[in-house]
Symmetry: C2
């Protein structure tokens, strides 16, 4: 009645999950050891070390939460908000909205700073809001997956320091594909997911928390609303005490360790350059085809390239063609952007020249199928000029 | 600097995770498809069907939460408790305590019914408490992993119906190894984990909720404290709408589907009999060695066999010997039972004759290493009598 598990070959070039390195898939099929086994404790230590490397931090409390990326968001809000706290939240896309939703559930007085979807949050507005409120917590999305916008954080971080406020950054899409520079930028708390530029399956949410933030956690007057995401308890499992909290997702941690090892071996600088190069080639190709990019110029993410759906073409048909004819997945727009943009991910293992060429030629075919004519091979030819320039 | 991932062969005969069927490990290494891919939606549907089968329910809302077993506990409490609600919680082990902790965080007025660890909760006490309070929610652990006790639920369920209270059952350790009979027993809400008798890696928490409980959810006056575990939103992703909530842990769901398919193919009745048989053989072997079982007679779990550490022997040394010399993991006691009991799991894929014999002979060696003398092979000989009887 139930068939053997089998799925078609898919090239995951959407907003995530990205395609997973076969080495990571192999690691995940390693037989289990117990969650308190001495061998597993070594694997946990290595995973934390490797996470510090990719987060570019020395923070002791750096570990994966046992849930998908959004559980990282929930973790930081439930631990660092007490009912009645004033919290500043930047909202310029779906994930900013989600932050505000979760902060509200935690009983915060949310002070939103809004920007048009596709544009960055103005750092000066954060300063003004910090001056005008008692907020001691500012939450901003570093890489807004719903729009492709990359938020500059250094100025905001400086303003937070002046007001002794903590800065939370959502690095779900940025981690492993571009610098997040936790320590250098002065980000106090950050979270991410495994299924974007780390090219690991979804299922874990790496977080990092500095001592300044831990001090605030120690001074809480009310219990953390969540038992499952209670960092004070989790610290005791991942820390020296190794005190049982919940059974760790062993196989996912095998996978994360392997994915992080691959990042480490490539080197952060090479990895970040690789993401820049292929995004540049992709954008050159798209623009040469008359397709406009969506996110504000100068603030575009390399790993998540949002483009406007050309007038006269249909987004759903476009994605259906790519998926059914070519096995390529890209993502559509979310919320208010539904039907208006497409989102192409070039993340981690998926970020290479063959995929840039596959999606450019695939889009050409998909547009032609809608009688939206594009001169032959113009996209891939334009992209090729970027590669030629880069090697000289 | 970081070595290839490699772990020693371990025979997981503790409280979980149990050893995973190689077919499940293989399924987990299947390349990814997107979390909204039509092929994945079929896999989700099949997983829900197969979960209904093992939960023995027709409940439409039957799905895995994206976290480990404890996240299932948190899910049901955050969704079905509103601040100020009276909640009756049975506490006769660590997981009952955890339920009370989480219920408190949700703002409940907790009315505990306690029993000595190792004994069941008296159903009449539940009736009395229902009469004496305004509680509309009763939470009880079906299979108390910390003590090996199996709680009878039918009477309690009847009392709940009389008072129009909802019954929550923790089936983390029982699901897949013994009947949970959700519909027949009248359990309104149940949750479980994947790493016990389903023999899937830890990382998901299957839950099931009936219409009576859903009605209560619809009538909530306050928002659910957790966004990540908000069932009303999750229903829309797992239901017909397929509305994006969070990125599902694809690989873990591949694994769960395969693990559930194995359960389905074996058949529930055969599977439950298998757990009964091997537990009986194990207990016969242990008792013949002069080792006393811990949990109340007549209410012992077949998949989790708790025994008293004999006077004059040391629990830590015992487990260390088994792990280091034989690669066998068993679990020690938790909380007040630390050092006082050992816990042997015979769960799912791990539940077979070879493991019964391996742990009985291993224990004999481990006890001998502590100069606690046991006549040669007495345990395995006694166990063998059970197997001989069962085949005639």
């Amino acid at each position: 009645m139930y068939k053997e598990l089998s799925v078609s070959k898919k090239n995951l070039l959407g907003a995530g999950p990205s395609s997973v390195d076969p080495k990571v898939l192999k690691a995940m099929s390693t037989p289990l050891v117990g969650h308190l086994d001495p061998e597993f404790l070594v694997i946990m230590n290595e995973t934390m070390d490797l996470l510090r490397h990719v987060f570019q931090t020395q923070n002791k409390l750096t570990m994966p939460m046992s849930g998908t990326g959004s559980s990282g968001m929930e973790t930081v809000f439930v631990n660092f908000i007490e009912p009645g706290d004033d919290v500043i939240v930047g909202i310029n896309g779906l994930f900013g909205m989600r932050m505000a939703d979760i902060a509200n559930r935690c009983g915060a007085k949310v002070h939103p700073i809004e920007a048009e979807w596709g544009r960055i949050i103005d750092p000066d507005q954060v300063k003004e809001k910090l001056d005008a409120t008692d907020a001691k917590l500012v939450a901003i999305v570093h890489a807004e997956t719903s729009t492709g916008v990359c938020q500059p954080l250094k100025e905001i971080s400086n303003y937070c320091k002046e007001k002794e406020a903590l800065l939370i950054a959502d690095c779900v899409t940025s981690l492993g594909g571009m610098p997040v520079n936790i320590d250098e930028t002065g980000i106090d708390i950050a979270y991410s997911g495994t299924q974007k530029c780390l090219s690991c399956p979804p299922g874990l949410a790496p977080i990092t928390v500095n001592d300044r933030a831990l001090e605030k956690l120690r001074k809480r007057k009310t219990p953390v609303l969540s038992w499952y995401f209670d960092l004070s308890m989790l610290q005791n499992y991942w820390g020296k005490e190794r005190f049982y909290h919940h059974t760790a997702p062993i196989s996912m941690i095998y996978a994360l360790r392997e994915a992080l090892k691959i990042v480490y071996e490539e080197g952060l600088e090479s990895r970040f350059k690789r993401h820049q190069l292929h995004s540049k080639a992709l954008v050159r190709g798209l623009e040469s085809m008359g397709i406009e990019m969506f996110a504000q110029e100068g603030h575009r993410l390399p790993m998540l390239n949002a483009f406007k759906i050309p007038a006269g073409t249909d987004d759903v048909k476009l994605r259906k063609y790519l998926l059914e004819e070519l096995g390529i997945e890209i993502s559509g727009g979310l919320g208010a952007l539904k039907g208006k943009i497409g989102r192409i991910g070039l993340m981690g293992y998926s970020c290479d020249k063959s995929n840039v060429m596959a999606i450019l030629s695939g889009l050409e075919l998909a547009f032609m199928a809608q009688n939206y004519c594009i001169e032959g091979n113009i996209g891939i030819k334009a992209a090729e000029t970027v590669y030629r320039q880069s090697c000289c």
